[in-house]
Symmetry: C2
Subunit: 227 residues, 2 copies
DNA sequence: CCAAAAGTGTTACGCCTACACCCATGG
DNA sequence: CCATGGGTGTAGGCGTAACACTTTTGG
């Protein structure tokens, strides 16, 4: 074992806080749990945890997510490191925010409820502890940036979805109305949605085609190449 | 003094690494210093430092920047936290990358040279230690995003500059040629550059007007409002 | 005078927006 | 048959790219 050459420097508690986005009832929601002890008892909190010696920040975020939702292989992305000296009044703790995108499904919700957690619409958040509101806003901005560049239907809606499903999701993410016809043309022109041929009749009598997201590279195997 | 409620958790070394961008000889450059000891002796390194108990990440980045350049009030922005377990072979150190924009000037360069530091063009970087190459690439991407949305002439060129100066800076940032006429029209249409009336004759016989960046809000005091 | 940079004008094209309009069908 | 959501078509506006053109002036 080598001597630690950095001994003279401070060591710090490092945590991760997860902004877990889900989509339900045509609303973008965030999973929060109620803080049951002081300080800030009664306020709501993101799911978080301390980073261990032998895990990366991403590992820690995945662990936190797994513990509460039971899900693995979830899309997540680092957002920002928060480090104000008194952000946690109990001790000096830096926290790195991650956001994650998951499908809200009933069976998962049981596990969620066990922890007392609850899905809150981003448009109607409760009082939050520390800097957690900032964390959510930072994450929402990043999500908007991502959604503006690529289609995130798969993560929040499931494997197949109608164009209207996707439009409503985008309206929830960007918190504004979107023209249905223009949205359809724009999305389809990106060439990453594959029509499954099946129709969904839950929303209309005519029925809407269900699409599947196909990553750009895979399309080379499907679309014929002219010569 | 309260008891520390988090005692059971690990503490970590946390560092910041600064990607210091400058502009010189029509090239975007990064300030690096040569590592004089093993491991990775002879390779080049970003300017970095450990985060103290009583400072934020931003504070630490400002301190590092001040120590090497003697400059304060520099524009800087957090980029990403790197946390691979073996990224520093000597110990487990997480590092948060910041990028900064500074004007390269001769007097500052003396201080820089004292430390053995050197400006390297981003298009022609030397071998770097650890994950510092990734840090620079992440930072460059962020810089491009920022430059795409707002004008960053002031930070890298100085208080006044010609449209051609700015065009060459943008060509350095985006590493591609830009049409002069279109660039001029686009930049001026943003309405955030104010013509000083003075001309710079260094680059041409005709002379080019020097412009000053004026933040959007201040323009309300200058541009008359029609009724 | 003329090379070279500064600055203006012109045209074409692609994308986005707004909105009118058809289609299909369950009740 | 008709209200409702699914889906298509079209015209105008705007920003951009490409590039031709005019202006200025030191050497």
């Amino acid at each position: 074992m080598h001597a630690d050459p950095y001994k003279i420097h401070s060591r710090h508690y490092v945590a991760v806080d997860c902004v877990i986005f889900g989509y339900e009832d045509e609303m973008l929601k965030v999973l929060l749990y109620p803080r049951g002890f002081e300080p800030s008892e009664g306020n709501w909190s993101l799911l978080g945890g301390f980073v261990d010696e032998d895990e990366t920040l991403g590992d820690a975020a995945r662990r936190v997510l797994y513990n509460i939702t039971g899900l693995r292989n979830i899309y997540q992305e680092q957002v920002h490191a928060f480090s104000a000296l008194k952000r946690d009044p109990a001790a000096r703790v830096m926290s790195v925010t991650y956001y994650a995108l998951i499908r809200i499904r009933q069976q998962d919700n049981d596990l969620v409820r066990e922890h007392g957690a609850k899905w809150w619409p981003v448009a109607d958040l409760p009082q939050l502890i520390f800097d957690h509101y900032d964390m959510i806003m930072h994450s929402l901005l990043r999500l908007q940036q991502k959604a503006g560049v690529e289609i995130i239907g798969r993560e929040l809606l499931g494997d197949t979805f109608t164009i209207t499903n996707l439009k409503k999701l985008y309206e929830a993410i960007f918190q504004r109305e979107i023209d249905a016809g223009n949205f359809r043309k724009k999305i389809l022109s990106l060439g990453v949605l594959q029509n499954t041929g099946r129709k969904d009749k839950h929303e209309s009598k005519k029925g809407a085609y269900l699409y599947r997201y196909v990553p750009p590279d895979n399309l080379l195997n499907i679309v014929p190449i002219y010569k």
